[in-house]
């Protein structure tokens, strides 16, 4: 049940775009066509899930203080230094950026080899995921939410679900938005509002609608 709740929470209630306001650049940039939105969404789901897992490993075994820290195992235990002093959480942001950037690069190379049409369709947006703050956001969120869970498998699975759910929520909103924008194109909008401005207004209205999810699942 926990996992379902985490999924729904991150996908809808705390949606990355509409309630956390993360990942707005691809949200505005790639929401012009539905086909592009789906491609981008799938790429984000993939990268977010992968990033959640990889950053979980890095965070748990390198950055988080405690018995499981690799540095404690190598240096600390023999010299009798307390496990708590091996806490490098302050390196979280920079290390996660490094991990995500590398991951996206590898995904890009892989796609170029394995699925050239998808690679072409994503074009410039795949490298842009590198700097998509939603991906960094989900990693930091995982570190905050699930790192204190002692059970390794539970912590890992919850992080993965949160990453996957975040990606799904991102994709759903991106797809909805692209549908809206495709229709908006045909309407006589005042010249000053055409393009990005009307997209932001639509996004704001969507965010208001998503506020309806707020409070769901609280006891």
């Amino acid at each position: 049940m926990d996992y379902v709740l985490i999924f729904i929470s991150i996908a809808f209630v705390n949606n990355f775009i509409l309630s956390k306001f993360l990942g707005l650049c691809p949200f505005i940039g790639v929401s012009k066509k539905r086909s592009e939105a789906v491609g981008m969404g799938l790429a984000v789901i993939f990268v977010m899930t992968m990033a959640s897992q990889v950053t979980w490993v890095v965070n748990r075994y390198l950055l988080l203080g405690g018995e499981q820290n690799l540095f404690y195992a190598i240096f600390g235990r023999s010299k009798g230094i307390s496990p708590e002093s091996f806490d490098f959480q302050y390196l979280k942001t920079i290390v996660f950026i490094l991990v995500i950037a590398t991951l996206v690069q590898i995904v890009e190379m892989f796609l170029m080899k394995a699925a050239p049409p998808l690679y072409k369709a994503l074009g410039i947006y795949l490298p842009l995921i590198t700097t998509n703050c939603a991906v960094l956001g989900v990693s930091l969120l995982n570190a905050k939410d699930f790192m204190n869970i002692q059970s390794v498998s539970e912590s890992f699975l919850k992080s993965t679900v949160q990453g996957f759910g975040g990606g799904v929520g991102f994709t759903v909103v991106l797809y909805l938005m692209s549908g809206i924008r495709e229709r908006i194109e045909k309407y006589p909008i005042p010249k000053a509002l055409r393009g990005v401005p009307i997209a932001f207004i639509s996004a704001a209205l969507m965010a208001l609608a998503f506020m309806g999810f707020a409070g769901m699942g609280s006891k």
Binding site: V58, F86, V95, L98, T102, I106, M112, K113, I124
Partner: protein, 288 residues
């Protein structure tokens, strides 16, 4: 506790670097070797003047035959020739163009106190701009920011185009809300530096160096290359020989001959080629 953080960052960096190298080998895709060559021949400024998304976009378009070898405005003759050599095609050389700011009104006063965002675009959108002249340069420097080559500078609060650095990419033409920039061949040295469509009285009220449509230049021109339409002198660059006769008679010095300045700086091309073959400015027609 200083060593572990260094090891974490350095180690991860090494690991990822090596990993990327390994994966790039593993997933290596055979690409046309000419793509790399073309990319290294292009200037790499990613200015977008060619109409393709950056230099790599142009490179792949060139390979597919979707672009002319001379498509890169910035690189000019040299780059066009190198690309033509790589692709093995003929090329019509495009002569170097520069951007010219068609306004000299550096001291035109403001109609009101504009306190909004300090960009020309925003100032122009508000009640037609705060400048007393509705046609002149707003002096908030959108062109300076738009220039990817650092060729436009603010000198004494007025934009100045460094023609040695200008590559004719046309980003300033797009950036100026009043369309004051024009791209013209470097060897066309005479320009009307005013865009005002006001009558002489209204021009003189706000600016001492504007075109007052007196028509002296029309009389002075032996080649029928300059005409006054809508209270502004306009040069037909196909006929203009850059003799500078119009600049000499202009009472307000709105017409200026850049020959001396360009010669002095050593950027004036020698008139060896037949100018009729050269590509004429496309953007200037769109602006009118």
């Amino acid at each position: 506790m200083l060593v572990p953080p260094i090891m974490i960052l350095g180690g991860l960096g090494l690991l990822f670097g090596g990993g990327l190298y390994f994966f790039s080998r593993l997933f290596h895709v055979e690409q046309d070797p000419r793509l790399e060559e073309i990319l290294s021949a292009l200037p790499g400024a990613n200015c977008g003047a060619c109409g393709f998304p950056g230099c790599s976009g142009l490179a792949s378009a060139l390979l597919e035959g979707k672009a002319e070898a001379s498509a890169c405005l910035v690189g000019g003759e040299e780059v066009a020739l190198r690309i033509a050599k790589i692709l093995g095609v003929e090329v019509k050389v495009r002569e170097k163009q520069v951007a010219v700011l068609r306004c000299r009104g550096s001291v035109v006063e403001r109609r009101f106190d504009y306190t909004g965002i300090k960009t020309c675009m925003a100032a122009h959108a508000l009640a037609g701009g705060d400048l007393a002249c509705p046609w002149g340069c707003l002096r908030y420097g959108d062109c300076v920011l738009a220039c990817p080559f650092g060729a436009i500078k603010m000198i004494g609060g007025f934009p100045w185009v460094d023609e040695a650095k200008c590559t004719g990419c046309g980003n300033c033409v797009k950036a100026c809300p009043r369309g004051l920039f024009i791209l013209e061949l470097l060897q066309k040295t005479v320009h009307v530096l005013c865009r005002s469509r006001e009558k002489a009285k209204d021009v003189l009220k706000v600016c001492k160096v504007g075109c007052i449509a007196c028509g002296k230049c029309v009389e002075a021109c032996k080649f029928n290359a300059i005409h006054v339409n809508n209270y502004i002198a306009e040069i037909d660059y196909e006929k203009c020989t850059s003799c500078g006769a119009c600049a000499k008679v202009c009472p307000t010095h709105a017409i200026l001959n850049f020959r001396g300045e360009r010669k002095e700086r050593g950027i004036l091309p020698s008139p060896k080629r037949n100018t009729k073959e050269s590509v004429l400015s496309q953007t200037s027609e769109g602006m009118e």
